[in-house]
Symmetry: C2
Subunit: 218 residues, 2 copies
DNA sequence: GTTGACAGGTGTACGGCGTACACCTACCGT
DNA sequence: ACGGTAGGTGTACGCCGTACACCTGTCAAC
């Protein structure tokens, strides 16, 4: 049933996954689902667990940095396979055993790499959702081209207005796209951004570890 | 009306903010709201804009690092004043002018600090949601004490089970709480974690800027 | 071989949601 | 005096999660 839910979400998006719809997909009456999960929240928890189950186990032969990197990128692959997972993970407030298990295992990698429990704690916070293989998208998806695209003049006017109001964003978009600019903010290379930030953080972690950083408060 | 919506969300939480409930609060019929917003999504957008409006403007006298730090911490104060804002911001997919304006202004701070447009782009991605003053909570809120707390024995058993399954998390919790351990994961010092990660990132950014980093791809 | 527990499917119903659509009213510039 | 417009109204539809009472088949214990 969790598998069916995952497939349904893959197919129609997480918002369209309702108890009723899922039941229909399973050829069953909605209330039947409640024999397997207590409520919809628990269904979502289970679906997230399925996705997290796809994360490859840690490779014990790698040093901590490579191991964390590999693990997180594996998580990313899992999340990218299920476009709804990002939102689902963000919305979960409960920590299931699967979630805890993954976090524990990742923490273990840091510990074995010579991080104190203290520092491990803080670096995992610093990674934040990157643990799960994603970070927020700063800009929109390419704005779904619904209805007639604005005429050339309108587009011109819009672009001018945008340039005047948000010069720095424009500049960035130009730099990022090699000034073709077709559709401002038409999608960053998310994978690049993810690895950029990840490596930046791992580098910083290594520096702190090397200098024997310890939390100063209290 | 947006103000009323914000106050309502402050009072009862974002999930309890429905068009009907908000209308009731305003002494008006639900459909009346649709004269002011096109739909509920737009209402949420507007509410987020109100919160972002509370962020203090950039101080032009600070160097880039202090300026970004101050700005982001101001955003954090705004978000913490409205506990629902975090979730609301995460759920928004649309970029309102307010959102774009804030991002543009922050990008400007980097640019004036000597960052290339290219590097500015990537560091803003690296900050991710920290731009808005928050990062995901790794662990639960203290698990709302509903119903009878488990008996001492049960608690013992639970703790033992937990220790066996998640030794590293336990270790971290011990390190973080000074081993009193009343309720595992009983809340981290989120403010500390936030600033820890923020400073780590700002440090990394500075190193990249100083060495004239430029994106290598393409 | 009967029985009783239990896993799991069924049917009905309730209260809530967002919002489409047609309508009404008060005001204001002409 | 009048037409447009901003904003409030009332009704209705189709969705949602899920409480509650009920039914059915399987299987172990007696």
């Amino acid at each position: 049933m969790l598998r069916a839910a995952v497939e349904l979400a893959d197919a129609v998006g997480i918002d369209a996954v309702s108890m009723r719809r899922l039941a229909q997909e399973l050829g069953v009456v909605p209330m039947a689902l409640y024999k397997h999960v207590a409520n919809k929240d628990q269904l979502l928890d289970g679906m997230v667990d399925v996705v997290l189950g796809e994360i490859e186990p840690a490779d014990p032969d790698l040093d901590w940095q490579a191991a964390v990197r590999a693990r997180v990128l594996s998580a990313r692959r899992a999340v990218l396979r299920h476009p709804w997972a990002r939102q689902a993970i963000e919305s979960r407030t409960h920590r299931t055993p699967t979630v805890l298990g993954y976090m524990d295992s990742l923490a273990g990698t840091f510990r074995r790499g010579g991080f104190s429990a203290d520092l491990t704690h803080h670096v995992m916070h610093a990674l934040g959702n990157r643990i799960w293989g994603f970070s927020p998208e700063l800009f929109d998806e390419p704005p779904a081209p619904d209805a007639a695209p604005p005429s050339a003049e309108e587009q011109q006017a819009l672009a001018a207005e945008f340039a005047a109001r948000y010069p720095h964003i424009l500049e960035i978009a130009v730099a990022a796209t090699g000034d073709d600019l077709s559709g401002v903010g038409a999608g960053c290379d998310e994978q690049f951004e993810f690895e950029f930030a990840l490596d930046l953080l791992l580098d910083g972690f290594d520096r702190l570890r090397a200098q024997g950083w310890s939390s100063a408060r209290r």
